[in-house]
Symmetry: C2
Subunit: 330 residues, 2 copies
Amino acid sequence: MTRASKRPGEFELIAKYFAPLARAEPGAFGLTDDAALFRPKAGHDLVVTTDAIVAGVHFLPDDPPDTVAQKALRVNLSDLAAKGATPRAYLMTAAFTHTVDETWLKAFVRGLKRDQTLFGLALIGGDTVATPGPLFLSVTALGELAAGKMLARAGAKAGDDVWVTGTIGDAYCGLKILRGDGLGLGDKERAALVARYRVPEPRAPLGPSLVGLASACLDISDGLIADFGHMSDASRVAIQIEVEAVPLSPAARAAVDRKRVALADLLTGGDDYELAIAAPASARARLAGRAAQAKTRLTRIGAVAKGRGVTAVRADGTALAIARTGFVHF
Amino acid sequence: MTRASKRPGEFELIAKYFAPLARAEPGAFGLTDDAALFRPKAGHDLVVTTDAIVAGVHFLPDDPPDTVAQKALRVNLSDLAAKGATPRAYLMTAAFTHTVDETWLKAFVRGLKRDQTLFGLALIGGDTVATPGPLFLSVTALGELAAGKMLARAGAKAGDDVWVTGTIGDAYCGLKILRGDGLGLGDKERAALVARYRVPEPRAPLGPSLVGLASACLDISDGLIADFGHMSDASRVAIQIEVEAVPLSPAARAAVDRKRVALADLLTGGDDYELAIAAPASARARLAGRAAQAKTRLTRIGAVAKGRGVTAVRADGTALAIARTGFVHF
């Protein structure tokens, strides 16, 4: 039928698989009403973000369904973390293909459930449709934080330090491996990199604790250089990155050492979902303390200066050649 | 690239076409940050809903792009109206096909802009992706209303009146016409019905004024009988609809009179996006007054009784035969 009415199968799908994910949140009405009720905490702002992932574009069609669910949710949770917000709820629109069966759905819901528990949020609404095209998931995530405290891309100041969470370039390597290039690595290293591509680690424990310390923050989805470029544009400052200071995982480091990937590719590859942070030097000790509390690796990789654009400089003073100039401003 | 990074074309697309739609709302940051800031009014609840429309399922691939945009937005605004909420903001995920060119996009954005002005809300976030599958639009809409006042599907009580806004079955007829069945109607009548299918009329002016008067409310998307069935289920009451009282447009009436469509089809066809309302008889005069203020047709079509399920009864006392029993409880 070319109409918006739900097919009987859709009601069952929602009741059986998705309504249980909404149980913890009374305002979701078990996904049986037209809309959800969301009561923001008094004195708090809401932070809202939406991101979609498409099979063959943002994940591989044969990725395990629980990891597909987690990626759909986590790319949004990463945005909330970058704004200093604590996740509260999400809505999901799913366009399922005919290949989606009970087994797939059960694993998919298991992935959502796991992350709801881990990150402390509930499903409060959604829509499912059938599509002859690729599987498609769109998530809208709601978080909150004290009024007026949201971290932004703008705000970095000359003299600030530049920091990054976790390690950079793992997802880039993971995708290469899934496409058949083993990068000369062992099974365990390859599995670690693939996992980083499939299931990003949103820095939800750290993000809210950056409020009051960071002068600017965003999440790295387009690539470290490109996203610091966004911070540079929004803050109207120059950002200098010390290439050798950028933290790499042992597996990614091994691939670079064996010349199977270029360092420049790791810095531009994207899909990292780490936080890019600017903060005054006076905040160093407190930042380190909060990162330790959040059990999150945090590395100082450069500094903010007057001017515009991003420079990635080696220890010997030479600039790293970055091919994808469309994203980079020197 | 199989990664979440934005292609350069996507930045331009957002900057050129979508960022202007976010201009009125400072918390949208011109769609350049990771997330939007939304400051709820003090003492208000947020109402959140998400609905997706897919080409070939919820609209026709050659529908005018401005009407596609309006439908994507309006099916969500209809949900907000049914909950008594006033629209404030929306986020949109668009999966565009290669057939989407500048001309299409301009018209699409024109449709969004028109409705933003008409309904008083702003775009605060979104995502665009390319898809080889059908064009797909997912909207999340945020509305608000005084805390604790949200209208629900549950709440209808024996003795209540049952009301419906606008006219029923027009979209069903409109889709039939788009598929080549003229229903024996003239050009003007056919155009009116097609317009009702393509661009539903969310009852945004009336919805918020039902707060404090309606005991239950939902929007009719699955069909009048099916959706009163949902009210019956949620409220644990029986709902009796007087078939002859259901308001039809002159064009739909003409199609019924000429026996080109069955009355039962209009009552089950769906896509009406009218409000289904239950309210105590003591509220009749006030309801009529608010409908007049909102310039919205409001018709009493039945009553709530003890029991369960929906009955659709003719003036002669016979029940209307409804084929789609999957949706209907007698």
